[in-house]
């Protein structure tokens, strides 16, 4: 008989195991900090029931405030998306390391990283200080957020293109802008469209929130209603926001559908 040990096809990965164990230990430790007790849970259930009771039925009597807030939120979302995406196109291109030299990509990447580093609400606070209360600040804040998100995704999409196609267009003696519109853009258009509609969706949700810090939209009214314990009005606004997000989703799908015919084979 041969007594040598059987050959191992999958050697154990001790570092991965250690990482899993560390994660489990941390979760146990973090939970222990929460001061979670059964009594607290029961009180919470009771509070929750009373809260929901006061929300129903939703109160739509002050619908003017609601409609004004919603239209302002939509305005913030659309303007911030359009502005943010338009700015993201060149910034994303400049950040793409396969097309641009290092001295161009670095500043662009730093700009994108800065735009991404703060939550839109924090950026909104800064703009409210700078520009004053109102939709203007919300638009500025969400534009910054859009650049951080769309700019990064655009850059990554461009970095994944086939350079052979770019090389061929370059070999015809095409100027830089033509290389971009014929060699690069066709390869990324479908994905850019997807990112853009996703960004609109995200801005729509965020535009209902920046109002909490005074940057316009329905968030201001929502926050005020919370503070005055007008829970039935809160409920009316929450339902409207849900409707708005659904409507946004439908519009985004329609936009995609219009272009799907041209880019059907894109999603390999």
């Amino acid at each position: 008989m041969n007594v040598t040990a059987p050959r191992v096809a999958f050697p154990p990965n001790w570092r991965a195991r250690a990482a899993w164990i560390a994660l489990v230990l941390y979760i146990v430790y973090a939970c222990s900090l929460l001061d979670f007790t059964w009594a607290r849970f029961m009180v919470g259930l009771d509070n929750g029931a009373r809260f929901i009771g006061r929300m129903l039925p939703p109160n739509f009597t002050r619908w003017e405030i609601l409609v004004k807030g919603l239209t302002e939120s939509i305005e913030i979302a659309i303007l911030a998306s359009v502005l943010g995406i338009l700015l993201s196109l060149p910034i994303g291109l400049f950040a793409a390391r396969n097309l641009m030299p290092l001295w161009v990509t670095w500043p662009s990447r730093i700009l994108i990283a800065l735009c991404r580093s703060f939550h839109p609400v924090i950026v909104a606070i800064v703009f409210v200080k700078a520009l004053g209360f109102g939709a203007m600040s919300g638009i500025a804040a969400l534009t910054v957020a859009s650049i951080g998100f769309a700019g990064k995704l655009f850059a990554e999409a461009i970095e994944e293109i086939s350079l052979k196609q770019v090389e061929a267009v370059r070999a015809t003696g095409a100027p830089f802008m033509n290389v971009i519109t014929y060699g690069v853009l066709p390869q990324v258009f479908g994905r850019f469209l997807g990112f853009s509609t996703y960004q609109l969706d995200s801005n729509l949700r965020n535009s209902t929130m920046v109002g909490i810090v005074g940057a316009g939209g329905i968030g201001g009214a929502l926050f005020a209603a919370f503070q005055r314990f007008d829970y039935d009005f809160v409920c009316a606004m929450l339902l409207s926001i849900i409707l708005l997000i659904f409507a946004g989703e439908v519009v985004a799908n329609k936009v995609r559908a219009i272009f799907v015919e041209r880019t059907r084979v894109d999603e390999e």
Partner: protein, 253 residues
Amino acid sequence: MENAALSIRDLTKEYVRGKPVLRGISLDFAGSGFTAIIGPSGTGKSTLIRCINRLVEPTAGSVIFENQDIVALPRRALRLARRQIGMVFQEYNLVERLTVMENLLSGRLGYVAPWKAWLRRFPQSDIDDAFELLDVVGLAGFANQRADSLSGGQRQRVGIARAVMQRPRLLLADEPTSSLDPKTSVEIMTLLRDLGRAKKIPVIVNMHDVELAKRFADRVIGMSGGVVVYDGAPSGLNDTDLKSIYGGEDWLQ
């Protein structure tokens, strides 16, 4: 050579310092004719072709084309020179998500302003040329198909048509048939040779198929280890030459 259309002098390329891929190549090409460059993989054929239009930057030497040294040209002038040089690629390098027509017209991008190109507003003469070329390469009726829906042979026909759309003074082809079956390869070579003759421009083609080179070329250049080891008529190519190009001899049996 007097009045050479293209003169390569002492061309050297080192991707890694001290390890030249091309070791001082000097060649002259007349204003017409079909030249095949043969040699084993990794011997610098592709690098040589790409140094001509500077898709690869030469390390030293000169490439004289239309009375100017392409190696010394600044960016803008290089762009203008590239408009005169059509290039066909091994993997076709079509813009996959554009239509056949858009791919053909991209051969004119060196002449069309960016906003007009963006709006697809090409001169009617270019569009007429494109339709005519589609007939020539046997793709009539394919104008509005997307490039990624074509077969390999069809793609290479589009690749050739795109290069010819430039109305080039020189046509380069980098292993244009290496990804194709033997029958399609012959058709593509025939197309390259016939178009070169019709437009009265020199055609320089890299290949590693010796038989195909002998069948189509007016002149064969054999490369090995970054230098030219054979340069002459295809009929003069004997086993000794092939041995010096590819090394060994067992494969010749």
